[in-house]
Symmetry: C2
Subunit: 465 residues, 2 copies
């Protein structure tokens, strides 16, 4: 068995397979993978979460994110043709949230894209499904491009990456940057980039806001990781900076509203057979691990669209791209849109309480991240029981003191304040996924909110540092 297509051909029920028998990468199911590189908690995730709202927080992204470098005469042409994103404003001083869709308009994956000019080309950061999609088309589409894949540290043969990468967030981030950047922090707009000098190192900065706050992503040569980190930590000491571990890091979507790693829409359709024959049988896509209460034999029920992910604003019909006709049609029809769900406190408390005593024992709600599939897919129903959406990412945010989930909801039920019901826990006592305990299914009432949930995040997401 060599390819994803072989796997699909030999698997009687693909959803059953992805639901039970895969081990997703980087997931809770591989807890030890990064633990010596990045601590699960440097102090406690609760104070690490508070730091991004109250002081400042430093995430180390140097190890877990794969990167694809793309350059050459046709690099721009390739990337533009693969994405609904516009390239009309392409420049070396701004980054893009880059994503691709299939010919039928299903989401493939998304990543951050940096452009370093003609010679150096493009950098696509994280998001294996989109990185693979770009590699496939770059290799097979007759483009004049050179691509270099930089795997995450645990999969790098020599444990070396090309670049270090940090994310600095929180209300004190600007002061810290102002102190450590030679000549002070250059004022740059959201998602714009610049070069600065920190501790003698040339550092690329991207004005970002991953945790909902003013923030910056800093990258540079991997060998200078410690020097730059030491400078940040020294300047952060008097400003309440905390280093954040993986537990906190994986809870940031609850603050910024980004839906991580939806299932790519690539498992069906003859038009994608060649792609599935290109993807290895042990690829990321072959190891996606479905989990949650939504259980459908039709894998397309787990697919996403740009509108469901909140990416409609990035879709520009100013160029030809794969999936263009499908997206034009999608946008005329009723669709699902991205929302945050605020879980009812009493239902969460009832599920916690079920861990003691003699009654049914519900799927435990872990903190700060409560999902147990990668991706998670929990069914959302209206008060009268109709299936109206899919909840994906879920967990706890101590700044809001809420359990939240990120979901797509039918437009008719997307009005803020609408009450919906999430089914919590898997069917039939739980899947065979080794990290899911046996449990009973129950429901959680939830209220629909705009994304991101936090008013502070909404206001500050685009504030200049």
């Amino acid at each position: 068995m060599k390819t994803l297509q072989d796997l699909i051909d030999q698997t009687p029920d693909l959803v059953d397979h992805l639901y039970n028998d895969t081990i997703s990468q980087y997931h809770k199911s591989r807890t030890g993978l990064l633990a010596t590189l990045i601590a699960p908690e440097y102090t406690t995730w609760r104070e690490e979460q508070r730091a991004w709202r109250e002081t400042a927080v430093l995430f180390n992204q140097s190890h877990h994110m794969p990167v694809l470098f793309v350059k050459g005469r046709d690099a721009r042409k390739l990337l533009e043709y693969l994405s609904p994103c516009t390239f009309s404003n392409l420049s070396t001083d701004r980054a893009k949230q880059y994503f691709c869709v299939t010919p039928r308009g299903h989401h493939v994956g998304d990543c951050v894209l940096n452009y370093y000019g003609e010679a150096e080309g493009f950098e696509l950061i994280s998001g294996m499904p989109v990185l693979n999609w770009v590699r496939f088309h770059g290799e097979t589409g007759g483009y004049d491009v050179q691509m270099r894949f930089d795997p995450s540290t645990p999969y790098a043969r020599d444990g070396q990456r090309e670049k270090f990468r940090f994310q600095l967030e929180g209300p004190n981030a600007r002061d810290i940057l102002d102190e450590i950047c030679e000549g002070g922090w250059p004022e740059i707009r959201f998602f714009h980039t610049a070069y600065v000098t920190i501790a003698g190192c040339r550092v690329h900065v991207l004005r970002h806001g991953m945790a909902g706050h003013a923030g910056a992503e800093l990258s540079g040569p991997f060998a200078e990781l410690d020097r730059v980190r030491d400078a940040i930590i020294a300047a952060g000491e008097k400003r309440g900076l905390r280093q954040a571990g993986t537990r906190t890091y994986y809870s940031t979507p609850l603050e910024d509203g980004w839906i991580p790693y939806p299932l790519p829409g690539i498992y069906t359709g003859d038009e994608l057979r060649a792609y599935r024959e290109w993807l290895p049988a042990d690829s990321w896509e072959a190891n996606m691990q479905l989990g949650g209460s939504l259980y459908s034999r039709d894998i397309e029920d787990y697919y996403w669209t740009p509108s469901a992910l909140g990416y409609e604003k990035f879709v520009k019909f100013d160029h030809d791209f794969i999936g263009r006709a499908a997206l034009e049609a999608q946008m005329q029809a009723p669709r699902r849109v991205k929302r945050v769900l605020r879980w009812h406190h009493d239902d969460v408390a009832r599920i916690f309480a079920s861990q003691t005593g003699d009654g049914p024992i519900y799927k435990a709600i872990d903190m700060p991240t409560s999902y147990y599939g990668w991706p998670q897919a929990d069914e959302l129903r209206s008060a009268d029981g109709a299936l109206i959406g899919m909840s994906q990412y879920c967990g706890y945010n101590i700044n809001e003191r809420e359990f939240l989930s990120l979901a797509c909801v039918d437009e008719a039920f997307a009005e803020p304040g609408t009450e919906v019901v999430l089914t919590w826990g898997e069917v039939s006592g739980g899947s065979r996924k080794p990290h899911v305990e046996r449990h009973d299914q129950t429901t959680i009432r939830a209220t629909v909110h705009l994304a991101p949930f936090s008013k502070e995040a909404q206001e500050k997401l685009r504030a200049v540092i």
Copy 2:
């Protein structure tokens, strides 16, 4: 600053220091230390806990436990003089739960002790305070002994240990051992030892019952770790064996009732000054990390006695030993005894519920282990508010579906069924310990039970495998 005594001399308030500014070894505060050697969870701690009650579970103890080897003409004389345990029944086919007390009868530490005969001598497994105590007396007391200290893997210069060590537990453990031991499993009594051959390796086995069930500890040359583990796992596959990670491992005291790592009673008293001048300023003892609601300026309020730990039954006045006179006096006076506390479900649920909403936010109760000090010390009060004991180790046991803690209680309040009140959370919003979040203090009602809590554990603790 070279010694523990220097540290004490230069620290205005020792309790304040141990409460706030230390980082204990192997604790939750060092989450990454063992993560590549032993996964935090192999599957999920919930099913790993269930496995020790329902099928079988394998713990890897090869990495975290320091070992002291003691041999020589005076080895027995030294160890006997340092312990209230009798040596009258010393033999190479049984192990001992070995412990030491100070001249004033305070607990120093405990460990498992194996005896391999005149030539090879003794092996003391885990329990740094008792290992250090033995080393001090062995080095300074004029004994003819040779000692060799084998640090835990993260502190071993070459990452190599002398021995592997596994613990196999659960109702199916006997069948697994019977299959893998050449000639079948030898019937041996509780805490007795023997040699067996597994996968061609000579393996020392100790009939044990750490998790409350029939179990065995297996040890042998470190180089044969994988071979023996593979044999266990292969035989366990059809018997529901699960490997258990560190999260599950550190929750076993809730099943077997053993109180791990009480504060050693060595910080006070002129008679112990020489010992404190021998202990380095960065020793285990200098890094004990107090946590919990019991806050006393007098460090002796955190000391333990053999009766409080349930070790009175091991105290034998058939020999002279350090602390003998003190223990004789202790046993005539009213004292504290070991008990298990069953926490009231409603109070636990209320504390979980406080994580959402606008009210006070109580110290989060993590699962499966809920302590956040090493050692934890929570005050216990009677219904009318008198201080009647100290709760140390706490957490959740899914087999009982209870939150439990291990405590010492004044004899007058030790009757099973007595209702007591535990203060949960630290004073003044929480200590400066980096892994303790800011929180409010509250109370948890609890009922006194005999240790171990589980009827199954009580019945099976001494069952022959």
